[in-house]
């Protein structure tokens, strides 16, 4: 089977992979495809392939400069990121609408069957009626998953956050006032969560854009998720020192 045909198949699958192509030097044109499952098609470009774990987590294409000055282009393959919202509240619906705009896959979970209904959350790609641990076991968040906890109720929020922190999710956010965050922090510490692990929680979640309505709050949280994903601060572009686009030199 040709590499092109293999790539065309990969594009339709849910498997993540990187296609490394040497673009300079003697090896220009050489290609190595590495799948997250460990399968590899082609040999060589070892120094670039060694960066697989880091690059696959970025979720985007990247140009790698090798020690000898040559360059390798890494093209990212995989399904869109997933957004898991725990708490089927109004903001969850607004977040799913925003996720659709981004082309992301949205999942809303809540233990309360009356809340997690298609009538209330029509925009979710998936609805799960389960307690946090069960919902997380079902979704199995990975490094391309963002988790937002929205219930405002300790009996859901706390296990949801503890469970979320046990995953590789690239973003873990929680609503709530500063006072609530502090109280929750104490309780999570008592529950045995490491202080350094707690630092992963973005709470109160969202960018400081003066969000008022559910839709505004959803946009503020989604914008923060994007900023975290691109390792940006999320301020005004006119004040930004970095380049505008995520992968521009």
């Amino acid at each position: 089977m040709s590499l092109i045909h293999r790539l065309a198949e990969l594009r339709e699958s849910n498997e993540r992979a990187l296609l490394f192509t040497a673009i300079e030097g003697d090896e220009a044109g050489a290609k190595v495809l590495v799948l997250e499952s460990g399968e590899q098609v082609g040999d060589g470009l070892d120094q670039a392939v060694a960066q697989f774990d880091e690059l696959i987590r970025r979720g985007r294409n990247h140009l790698i400069r090798l020690d000898d000055g040559s360059k390798v282009f890494a093209e990212w393959y995989g399904p869109p990121p997933r957004l898991l919202v725990y708490g089927a509240v109004d903001t969850a619906e607004a977040m799913c609408r925003g996720a659709k705009l981004l082309g992301w896959h949205s999942i809303v979970a809540d233990a309360r069957a009356k809340f997690a209904t298609p009538e209330r959350i029509p925009s979710a790609d998936e609805l799960i009626v389960e307690w946090p641990q069960e919902a997380l076991a079902q979704v199995r968040p990975d490094h391309q998953t963002a988790i937002v906890v929205l219930t405002h109720d300790d009996k859901f929020d706390e296990p949801a956050l503890i469970g979320a922190l046990e995953t590789e999710a690239f973003y873990v956010g929680a609503l709530g006032s500063r006072r609530n965050q502090e109280r929750r922090r104490e309780r999570l510490l008592e529950a045995g969560v490491e202080e350094s692990t707690l630092e992963r929680i973005m709470g109160p979640c969202g960018l400081d854009i003066g969000a008022d309505t559910q839709e505004e709050t959803a946009l503020s949280i989604l914008a923060e998720i994007l900023a975290v994903r691109a390792q940006r601060e999320g301020g005004f572009l006119k004040d930004a020192k970095k380049r505008i686009h995520a992968e521009i030199e």
């Binding site: 040709s2 590499l3 092109i4 045909h5 790539l7 065309a8 594009r11 296609l19 192509t21 673009i23 300079e24 220009a28 044109g29 985007r60 294409n61 990247h62 140009l63 360059k71 282009f73 093209e75 990212w76 393959y77 380049r243 505008i244 686009h245 992968e247 521009i248 030199e249």
Partner: protein, 103 residues
């Protein structure tokens, strides 16, 4: 190349040689993101893009050469380029485009 793989796959399955041009670096600003690509087949079919149409004609010329020789090529387009007046990027950015033949 991901976005235009179905077309490239179809053309190569039909036995055509295809050149794929991919944006592999962008500086300052750029009309299309990293990884955007344009495919050109032996019979002259095209799909995708590497800019807003600013450099496609020059890429097309280079692609004919790559089709013939099979040697990949790395091109740079930008305002400092000699070709700026004819095929420069109006947005003031600079892009590197990698051309390779696939079969």
């Amino acid at each position: 190349m991901k976005e235009i793989l179905p077309e490239i796959d179809r053309w190569t399955e039909n036995g055509e040689k295809v050149v794929v041009a991919t944006v592999v670096a962008t500086r300052r600003s750029a009309p299309r993101p990293l990884g955007a690509s344009l495919a050109i087949s032996e019979s002259g079919k095209m799909c995708g893009s590497v800019s807003g149409g600013c450099v496609e004609s020059d890429v097309f010329e280079n692609a004919r050469e790559v089709l013939a020789t099979g040697e990949p090529k790395l091109l740079t387009y930008g305002i400092e380029d000699d070709l700026a007046w004819s095929v420069g990027l109006p947005c003031g950015g600079e892009i590197d485009v990698f051309l390779e033949r696939v079969e």
